[in-house]
């Protein structure tokens, strides 16, 4: 059961440790379990992928770690961020962690940005909220962050409104916001699904650079095997609320153990080959 996990070597404890996580929703017909005893680790500087189809519970798992589950969700099990429990702490304590030590990059940046606020102001919000710094100090950090996510001419673009940004730039702005306070864990929930492939390739490279340069651990939620293969070190495969297998990316692709993983690999079309769908 113990496959070699390079990022676990020499690290005291995982950046994120989830144990026997359950998420239930109360329905008229009884409880609906969307996450069923999921355990996963993200080690420091590791990029961990969670892959699954719709309804697999991958997003609910990610949102649990942010404590951002929809109203009415009941959560069980344990979640620890750098050894600190996240399940039983109060909402005000959780708010102090969000954006500071753990950050979320959502799927649809346009939906997450406030259309009436300039981008720079929004990217600077973590400083405003968590550090209560002066406007001038925040502004220079915002420019620095936008430069770090490779937005050209950041001094000018920081004054733009979100609709003046392209889809890729909006997602970069969200990433900049996530990076603001150098969190130890970044959770990215399908951050490139709405983007063109060439733009996606640049965003994935940016995330890799962030890990390499800043040392953040990244939990990456996706439904695309190709992204996992290209970006992640370790992968958890989810189906119907459960983890069906986990392991190093290369092994999962070359020697999948679970039937479901094999089926997913089989079903995914590849640009490198052509299968039997054509006659």
């Amino acid at each position: 059961m113990s496959e070699f996990r390079p990022h676990a070597q020499g690290a005291a404890r995982p950046a994120l440790a989830i144990r026997d996580l359950t998420v239930d929703f109360q329905r008229r017909s009884g409880a609906l379990r969307t996450v069923d005893k999921v355990s996963l680790d993200v080690w420091p500087k590791e990029i961990v992928g969670v892959i699954g189809e719709s309804g697999s519970g991958k997003t609910m798992t990610a949102l649990s770690a942010m404590r951002l589950l929809p109203h009415g969700a009941r959560i069980g099990g344990a979640i620890a961020l750098g050894g600190r429990d996240l399940v039983d702490i109060g909402e005000s304590e959780m708010r102090a962690l969000r954006g500071d030590r753990i950050a979320l990059i959502p799927q649809d940046a346009m939906q997450s940005l406030n259309p009436t606020m300039r981008v720079g102001r929004q990217v600077g919000e973590p400083y405003e909220f968590h550090r209560k710094q002066s406007y001038g100090a925040i502004w220079s950090k915002v420019v620095e962050l936008l430069r770090a996510v490779k937005i050209a001419d950041p001094e000018t673009r920081a004054r733009d409104y979100p609709h003046q940004f392209s889809g890729g730039m909006q997602q970069r702005a969200m990433i900049a916001m996530g990076l603001a306070l150098d969190p130890e864990l970044i959770i990215a929930d399908e951050p490139t699904t709405a983007l063109d492939v060439t733009v996606q390739a640049r965003i994935l490279k940016l995330l890799r650079d962030i890990r390499d340069e800043r040392g953040s651990a990244i939990l990456f939620i996706t439904h695309e095997l190709g992204i996992v293969a290209e970006l992640c070190d370790w992968v958890y495969v989810m189906k119907d609320g459960k983890v069906v297998e986990d392991g190093p990316v290369k092994r999962i692709f070359e020697a999948p153990k679970a039937d479901y993983t094999r089926m997913l690999l089989e079903a995914t079309p590849s640009i490198h080959r052509r299968k039997g769908a054509k006659r």
Partner: protein, 266 residues
């Protein structure tokens, strides 16, 4: 080589911008595109958002009129057709759209949805139509009892099977599909693509398949056209395009697809 089933000749589409008093130059969504498609072949059109691939497809569907150029289906220029000839063209060319949820009337049963094309074209008696619907539902891998359901009661994959059934129920020669699987999970996508290929073969269809997903395009296409900003930058046999791309943009697109080297051997 015989006459192409679909012939696109120097087609351009300019969308007007600005109001009554502000005559902006307009936006060229499709720019001087020429493509020919022989019988029983599948043309994959691939490009990123804004490349003009959907506009081109909608012009072949005769939903948008080209600003310049001609489109011929089975030898007839589609915008010159009137009356009975136009109705015959509508029978010959059928679409499958991206979002199955919005391409059906939510208040109609599946039977009514599938029966509508037959009624419009006055085909068969009520009993014959029912028979045809039942047979076709089986052919697309669904239980015929599904005909009493409403679209929202079906899964995404089931809806796309219905969309395929509706596309072929009139016995068309050309089916045009615009991102038909991009809203589906990969496991469902694989089943729908397989069905699409089987149906194409059984019904002897000539098809155009538009997608932003290069891997899907590779799987379904005999030939491929790569579009960028309204232009076809490269076209040719699918294997050649994927294995030996000539244009820089095609190379850039292929390089951007997240797919590791070790998947290539599978």
């Amino acid at each position: 080589m015989s006459e192409p089933v679909v012939r696109i000749e120097n087609v351009s589409k300019v969308f007007r911008q600005g109001g009554l008093f502000n005559r902006a130059p307009g936006f060229k969504a499709v720019s001087n595109v020429s493509l020919n498609l022989a019988k029983n072949r599948t043309l994959g059109i691939v490009g990123e958002s804004g490349s003009g691939k959907s506009t081109l497809l909608r012009m072949v569907l005769r939903l948008i009129q080209p600003s310049e150029g001609r489109i011929l289906v089975n030898g007839a220029e589609i915008w010159s057709l009137r009356g009975g000839e136009l109705k015959a063209l509508r029978r010959q060319v059928q679409p499958i759209f991206q979002n199955p949820a919005s391409s059906f009337n939510p208040r109609q049963t599946i039977r009514a949805i599938l029966s509508a094309p037959l009624e419009v074209h006055g085909i068969g008696s009520v009993a014959e139509r029912r028979e045809r619907i039942t047979t076709l539902l089986r052919r697309v891998g669904l239980d015929p009892a599904i005909e009493n359901r409403l679209p929202h009661q079906l899964s995404g994959g089931q809806k796309q099977r219905i969309a395929i059934a509706r596309a072929v129920i009139l016995g068309p020669s050309v089916v045009l599909a615009d991102e038909p699987t991009s809203a589906l999970d990969v496991s469902v996508q694989a089943q729908v693509l397989k069905l699409f290929a089987d149906i194409k073969y059984d019904f002897g269809l000539t098809t155009i398949f538009v997608s932003h997903n290069l891997a899907v395009i590779r799987e379904v296409s005999d030939e491929v056209a790569v579009m960028r900003r309204g232009e076809v930058v490269e076209q040719g046999e699918a294997d050649r395009i994927f294995e030996d791309p000539q244009h820089d943009y095609t190379r850039e697109l292929l390089a951007a697809v997240p797919s590791p080297a070790f998947m290539a051997r599978a």
